[in-house]
């Protein structure tokens, strides 16, 4: 059986190379001898009910609102989260997984999907640039999460979730923390895309999705890039 990875509404939520997260997850399985397929599902088409991973990426205000409307109508993403499938949102995708977020110059409050206990409001200034965080509960080389952030919203995690990481360089949630985890639902700001730059995080998602530990998969190019990015930020 093939592991199914869904790129949710690539045309709405995919402006920061977010399809790359799907490519990375699928390749990391294939190279370990596990069949994997990436499905791109666009609005108007039903999301598959039987996938193991659902990916949501970056998008503009209007796209966020449309995505929430369509995903709520569709319902499959909520059912997926309930059965413990991995839901991974980046940037705008992270924001819409939350309870509420705002759009437009007048900061109109919009309901999110409610899969993460977070709320997003316009921050004091737009966060744009390289970001480096440390992943909670991890140590050594794999604790470092590196990426590029570009968002105007600041996100407050509520009691129902825990932050994914703590900010070393950059902005993240805006309060020193970065991202959020609630069961098998993840949200984070860095793209890059984030799973290309952070293979331990990619494998963590896959291990949850498959329910089994995975063999190591050395990729020296990725190690070099990670070292280069950390050095560029003075760490």
């Amino acid at each position: 059986m093939s592991v199914r990875i869904v790129l949710v509404y690539q045309s709405l939520l995919g402006i920061y190379g977010d399809r790359g997260n799907g490519t990375v997850l699928a390749e990391r399985l294939t190279r370990r001898g596990i069949d994997a397929e990436v499905l791109v599902v666009e609005p108007g088409t039903e999301l598959p009910e039987d996938a193991q991973v659902y990916l949501l990426g970056g998008g503009e205000d209007g796209a966020q609102t449309t995505a929430v409307r369509e995903l709520t109508k569709d319902g499959a993403l909520h059912r997926a989260a309930e059965r413990g499938a991995v839901v991974f949102g980046v940037c705008a995708g992270y924001q819409i997984l939350g309870n509420t977020f705002t759009v437009g110059d007048r900061q109109q409050e919009m309901p999110g999907l409610g899969l993460l206990d977070v709320d997003t409001r316009r921050g004091p200034e737009r966060a744009v640039g390289e970001i480096l965080t440390t992943w909670r509960g991890r140590s050594g080389e794999e604790q470092w999460i590196t990426g590029f952030e570009n968002h105007g919203g600041f996100t407050t995690p509520g009691p129902g979730c825990i932050p994914l990481a703590d900010v070393v360089v950059g902005v993240g949630n805006g309060d020193g923390t970065e991202g959020a985890v609630q069961g098998s639902v993840f949200g984070t700001y860095p793209h890059g895309p984030v799973l290309a730059r952070n293979p331990a995080l990619a494998d963590h998602l896959l291990e949850i999705a498959l329910g089994t530990p995975l063999d190591p998969l050395p990729m020296p190019e990725v190690d070099r890039l990670r070292a280069e990015r950390r050095k560029a930020l003075g760490h």
Partner: protein, 461 residues
Amino acid sequence: MVPMSVDTRGQLVRASGPGRARLALAQTAGRLAAFASRVSGRGSGASIRGMVMMRLDPGALGKLLGGRRVLAVSGTNGKTTTTHFLAAAIRAGLGPGAGRVVSNADGANLHHGIASALGEQPRADVAVLEVDERVVADVLRLGRPEVLVLLNFSRDQLDRHHEIKALARSWRDALAQMGADGPVVVANAEEPLVVWAARPAREVIWVDTQSTWSQDAALCPECGSLLTRTDPEQAGDSVIPGHWECTGCDLAEPPAQVRVSGDRIIDRQGRELPTDLQVPGKFNIGNAACALAAAEVFGVDSVTALSGMRTVTAPAGRFSVTTIAGTPARLMLSKNPAGWAESLPLATTDPLVLAIDAVAADGKDLSWLWDVEFEQLRGRTVVCTGPRAADLAVRLSYAGVAHEVIHDLSAAFRSVAGKVDGPVDVVSTYTPFQRLLDLGGVPRTTKPTALPDVGAEGGAR
């Protein structure tokens, strides 16, 4: 603004007075700054010259635009090449009066770069200008162009331009504001954002460029509903054109008056004309179709316009063939995923060189690498070079493409010496591209050759 007019022989007549004196002083200071920049090896000096001029005379751009017939070109990709096409078409139309044309041929397309180019040729009364997307509204207001070409609109440098729709809105608002005084717009009918932005113009000539990039248009810019799109279909020998429309309002692809058909262009009179351009790429036929439509508005016949466009070889160094570190190379510039989608299929050598950086001029965010189909390079070897070669290496390793990383540009070219018959193909982001031009001895500015004296008789209206 200093009043200016064009007399019956096409000569510019400028008013004298304090405004004129101030502009003259600013221009002299600008020239000195440009000279300093050149001798210190920092660049062509075009932008510096304009910056100094405009600091000393903030009204300089308006004064310099005044009294000229202006044709402007904007869009995300293809501005520089299209501007070269259009300038060449207009020169061909003007014949012996070709020297009346001024153009910012080096691609310096912000206020400073435009002012600089205009300041250098005060007597040229026809200005063909490449205009950055952010400057379109100002050039409309200050220069009152006769024609505005809007090529396309896609994701580019999102670390700076956060939402592309805001840029489209600035075009739309400026065109709406100008009403009957506005330009004739030549616009790509295949791009929903361009169509939305161009609709308020007093007259639009729609061009079907047969472009294939559609990743940036999912939602209707007018009402926010989803757009539907049918791709072009091959039916025997002919192609059924693709079409897009909104599911919620009346925004839809308008019927085109000028269209690309294979490597030919069908003009407004329905004539199917061979292009035979020296600049490669299907997308450049689309650019030529837009330039052709703009030249026709100016009064240049399509056949004459194309004869001019065929003289364009390497606009601002793009597609130039040169030698770098002893290795012959063909240089291509791409700045965003839509641009890479167009240029990568043109890079056919094995090995090939891809140069990447991510400083401000390139866009600091390299996530776009994952929107480019590098998988098409499987089976060949890529030399990754430039300061951010490591980011490309990760993308290529996930794409299953053999590669090596050689950060230093010259060393990268030495490594491929003798491995390719003819020039090795190179695709580069903006900053390494400028360095490659320097290493290859290609001038960053490609000036038109042998201009006759300004103010000659004749030519198109």
